[in-house]
């Protein structure tokens, strides 16, 4: 186990803070720079770091393939669902004014949910794409060291 310990310890120490920072970017996007897109990418970057050091298979036990696929759909449905909810309450598609008693309150809820949808989709899409690429072996070459 000698040698590999440094990267493992440092990354184990850092990954929770990376995910926390992603959540900060997600929910602080209303006030400062950031938002769902950036937060999703940073969240996925935490998992990418984990995959690089502990292997893609380990990540796949933490986040099973089915989970990322479901999250991928959930994010898109959450975004469209907010739009449809506005329609059901008697306004236009993606009009958030009617979601709460006051227009600004409705806008606040709508934007929060929409950003959450974007974040979930982007994070699960990035994790899916990375694991699909990295989990595959080269087709032409030999398996390096069985």
């Amino acid at each position: 186990m000698h040698g590999k310990i440094i990267l493992r310890v440092v990354s184990k120490f850092l990954i929770p803070y990376i995910l926390l920072f992603a959540l900060y970017v997600q929910w602080h996007g209303d006030f400062g720079p950031g938002g769902g897109f950036q937060a999703g990418v940073i969240f996925a970057a935490g998992f990418v770091l984990y995959a690089l050091i502990f292997g893609v298979d380990t990540v796949r036990t933490v986040v099973p393939p089915a989970a990322t696929r479901i999250c991928l759909v959930v994010g898109v449905l959450l975004y469209s669902g907010v739009g449809v909810a506005g329609m059901l309450l008697g306004a236009n598609f993606l009009d958030y004014n009617v979601l709460a008693s006051t227009p600004t309150g409705g806008q606040h809820i709508g934007i929060l949910l929409v950003e959450a949808g974007v974040g979930i989709t982007v994070a699960s899409a990035m994790i899916t794409i990375f694991c699909t690429f990295a989990g595959r072996r080269r087709d032409d070459g030999e398996d390096p060291v069985a």
């Binding site: 040698g3 590999k4 990267l7 850092l14 990376i18 920072f21 970017v25 400062g32 720079p33 950031g34 950036q38 940073i42 970057a45 990418v48 770091l49 995959a51 690089l52 050091i53 502990f54 292997g55 893609v56 298979d57 380990t58 690429f133 990295a134 989990g135 595959r136 072996r137 080269r138 390096p144 060291v145």
Partner: protein
């Protein structure tokens, strides 16, 4: 000339030298090294520019840069060493960086 301007000039000069090393190579490790240093210099540049422009609130960006720089270095190193990213390192020393 404020102190931030001095720091900016120093960082820009260093960035130029790091860029030349990244282009010149000669081995792939020289490039990784130069790009890693370049990322750190960018982190400094963004922080110093925030103070220079009088709005130092945007330091979140520096954090993102530092994070991305680290992940990029690890990814590139792993790629160079193993020609791929798929190998788990549970057994033996494969996948060890």
């Amino acid at each position: 000339m404020s102190m931030f301007a001095v720091a900016t000039v120093a960082v820009l000069v260093s960035m130029y030298m790091a860029l030349i090393r990244a282009i010149r190579g000669p081995t792939v490790f020289d490039r990784i090294l130069a790009i890693n240093a370049f990322g750190t210099l960018t982190v400094i540049l963004i922080a110093v520019h925030g103070f220079l422009a009088g709005r130092p609130e945007f330091l979140d960006l520096s954090l993102v840069y530092a994070l991305i720089n680290f992940i990029g270095t690890i990814a590139v190193t792993k790629f160079v060493k193993y020609r791929g990213m798929s190998d788990p390192d549970d057994e033996g020393l494969r996948g060890d960086l």
